[in-house]
Symmetry: D2
Subunit: 331 residues, 4 copies
């Protein structure tokens, strides 16, 4: 469902071409000052508006607080933020109704919801929903105080240089994917809960809510499968738990170990590509060749870092609260 968290609980809602997308944060501590301006940097990063390879859709994308804030301070009651959709052109999409786009949720959502789904621009399955995640992430980051959560692009289309990767997409008139890495500094030892609520379980759970993610690995990740044990183990070098290497990516036994938490995710190429593709037309009941028109990112990975930071901060804020390291009243 659209809910996540144990004490810092999110409820996400909205559609790409409906009135808005939004989020309710239930369980946010009281006493946290919040101003709209504090959302500007992250919301802008999500839009990626000035980057080559992202779409020209321009939105203000600033949260409108509907509840839970009084005199610019959280009250402890559910904090509701809405991001209005002002700049939608549904017409671009409606003609594609009978033609499920490969790589999109068109086909699966249609089956699951019997054709009642809002199909305009991906509806509830749109990347537009990540605005709500980023908004909640800003709140979570503030709660985390001196813990820093930073994600950056490792590669685009296999190139370590973003420019070069995007150029590949432009040259090929196609979309491309990328790898994003997230690093969290300043974590206490022992965040994470037993068994099913390991740090990796919760982060991966939240990460795969982001559209277009195909994989996640912690620390050395898939490369660990090819290593010897003595090389992979991180030697503990002092009483604080500092390790010589960080192949574990900062999490051992499901708990943070006080070293940097490090993980990487794989972002697939944008499903919407200008190239011709084959799909099945439900009306003609025949194969059809088509190409996607309208505004689309060449590389959705460019927008992902801030979203990845957001879901990571959301998970960590919840774990900090479970560990009683964030109080119920911020003062």
């Amino acid at each position: 469902m659209n809910q996540f968290g144990t004490l810092f609980k999110l409820q996400i809602f909205g559609e790409s071409h409906g009135a808005c997308v939004g989020v309710v944060i239930d369980g946010c501590p009281a006493g946290l000052p919040l101003k709209v301006e504090e959302f500007e940097v992250d919301m802008e990063r999500r839009k990626g508006g000035k980057q080559k390879g992202t779409t020209p859709r321009q939105e203000d994308d600033m949260p409108i607080f509907k509840s839970g804030l009084f005199n610019d301070i959280t009250t402890g009651a559910p904090l509701t933020m809405i991001f209005e959709n002002n700049n939608t052109r549904s017409g671009d999409y409606e003609k594609q109704r009978a033609v499920p786009r490969p790589g999109h949720s068109d086909f699966t959502a249609h089956h699951k919801f019997g054709g009642f789904e809002d199909y305009r621009g991906g509806g509830h399955f749109s990347g537009r929903l990540t605005a709500a995640l980023v908004g909640a992430g800003v709140v979570a980051k503030k709660l985390l105080k001196n813990i820093t959560v930073e994600a950056h692009i490792v590669s685009i289309a296999g190139e370590a240089d973003v420019e070069k990767g995007i150029q590949k997409a432009i040259d090929q008139k196609d979309s491309v994917g990328g790898i994003v890495e997230c690093t969290v500094k300043g974590l206490p030892i022992g965040l994470g809960e037993h068994f099913f609520d390991s740090v990796e379980s919760l982060i991966s759970h939240a990460v795969f809510a982001i559209p277009a993610i195909r994989g996640i690995e912690f620390g050395t990740g898939f490369a660990a499968a090819n290593m010897f044990g003595v090389d992979h183990n991180d030697a503990i070098v002092d009483a604080s738990g500092k390790t010589k290497t960080n192949h574990a990516g900062g999490v051992v036994g499901g708990y943070t170990n006080g070293n940097d938490l490090v993980f990487r995710i794989a972002v697939k190429p944008t499903s919407s590509t200008p190239k011709e593709q084959i799909t099945w037309n439900w009306e003609t009941n025949e194969q059809e060749t088509f190409s996607v028109k309208g505004r689309h990112d060449l590389c959705i990975a460019l927008r992902v870092p801030v979203v990845l930071e957001a879901v990571t901060a959301i998970v960590l804020a919840d774990l900090m609260m479970r560990e009683q390291k964030i109080p119920r009243i911020i003062q």
Copy 2:
């Protein structure tokens, strides 16, 4: 925590060197016939007893039903299975008390639980707990009927041949990791729930509860990050949603699309290795060199396929119930 699931709910418990490990399944439909013999194959696979590279610890490992079964049929009440620990040698571990083993939960669990954790053989953090997962997996597989869940080893220590990979470990007197792949056939279209409860979110959540897992990828996974969109998208070739390729690994928009569900996980080398390692001694407050004695797998990945099948079946049984495709009374 040690609970997982929405309608088919697990509660895991137990320790490596305590009385037992076990699981309560809350929400299991009534009317499912269950005999102890049906657990034999999977429990045996988990032990991997005859394989080179797994430890000689021999246990019967068969479930003792404590509740929820009447005349060998589930009643709909919580189904409790216990796996007794008969063959433990705690002495092997106690001398290591002051010396947290690198790669193990010794250090992090000690911090989180203030030294009250049961440290014998990894306690609640031991791979022994996977017996409970496998037991629950047998039940879940029966509920899935004609849906088949099969995992196999893709590589050990970078070698596609298991024998060769294990030989590397033996030659090096060290432990090694591996890659395991899981394929599910026969799934309906539309399993998975909105946003946070996508198929990938739930499976990865459960997968990272298995000790030693460092990464997961669906379909083409990390390789997708290097592909062009037109190559990655799977062309839909008929009304049933069959696709020409399966780069998506059978899940689009968070929902199954009727094609095979395919994903891979990375298993790190066993943390316990006969090689000398460096760690910090809490008592002497000095660095210490040591090597792990006692029974240990050279390659924990060998035991993982059946555990991976189990958690996958558990997630899918829950989603099938949410989708009303498994009834509350099996008949």
Copy 3:
């Protein structure tokens, strides 16, 4: 928290004098037609506007749909409804800031949230929040189809006649309480879940979310404590489970038994009364005598029946979905 339900899940938010109150319904089946007009009767009943004994605050109180509806039909995505606050006079309340009103949440909320709570008109603790419950109740009732949920006033101020009870309040220049009874007809046998999720557990959980409720009893209720077993037991008179009497109130062993579900709740007198009362002034740190000014109901119980129906329908819709008696797509 402000969330409730397993498959039909509510998230409530908002404040009395903020922008709005609202509710997100996560898990509402797709395919349910919904028009604003369908909310009119129940929203109007909640306002109780024309009745003696309720306050003159006039609001439109009609839901604004923010998500989850497309072409007037639910999509299966989270359904968000907002009820705007247009007619608030905060000035009435601000001067009472240092004087916690007896019987209100002023004192307890102030302690719990460190003074950051929105205190205007009760803030998040206001009866205004029941608008969101009633809105969700309209949706739940539609899902229940032929199951009817009806609540009515049994007594006001101890009088079986509403008029007479209210007149007592008017004569005394004080507020009064009342008893409300709810009857549900047409339920299948077997709704309710094991142990903690009995029908009584879930209904009472939801009922005590309504402000001012002090007690609940099912069937014969408290009177059962004075009965003999043979008199209290309901004789089963046919194969359908019909009983000769209904002392059980339609629920046995935590499950509905196919007879009418019947329960009653006690509503305390409105805490805000024109009479003089004693409380503690936080600023002067002295006892203080005061009387509440502003708009207030003489008898909040008059508004309760429709709210009680709402929470009952919400619980039952969830249980019907758990029992697979409401499909995921309404057709």
Copy 4:
């Protein structure tokens, strides 16, 4: 389901005539010393063995710890307690298979679980399950330290004197009900969570999991419905929130207010009565007159006080943890 709690989470299981009943407590803080002897008093109270009016079934009823305890101290891992069933006589029950007993779950459970339920002695629906609640309650009470939870019988069969009430049952050769009151002293201000998780919501939720409960009321309860506001409101007389009266029963706005928490519950007469009753025979498909044989309490209310204390302590321990007033490691 059989799970309850947010941070201090119970999973109940077992049947009256199966191997055992039991409970897993997931989330119990580490560092709490626990010895079997500490369960003796409460387990004995539950059996009520020496009282007139309770059945002669004798069991040891002491918990066997299966996990979560190491050197007699909780580890923070799931704490599993089992209560073995040693003294069952299934023969008493099997002949009644086709004859659902009025007032029991026989009829409803049979419908819900399609005849697969364990019907012996009430199976999973038996009062025997309350042993698990009382066991968990002992742990919860220890966590609550200086907060005292005490329940006592207010009346039996309408008589304030227990002896007299039981004598009524003996004279009539029938079963009787009673009223039980619970008082909690020493609570901090502000326990309880917003809206759906008010103190009353959570306590009533847990209370109605106890078999045979028909009603609950807080403070003045149902009598409040007949009072005037000025009489019902409790005047706040000092800065600590102490009130002159306690009509609220210690909870205002869903939160504890620092005064004694007081509530009462109604227990119906034991459904099993020696008197002749009418029911429907599924096999003959005819009405049948029968009377219950075997061991049964004349008055189940006699056993209820300790169970009521248990569920109350369980709810309050969870709320104390949510409020960060019980640490994760007890020291």
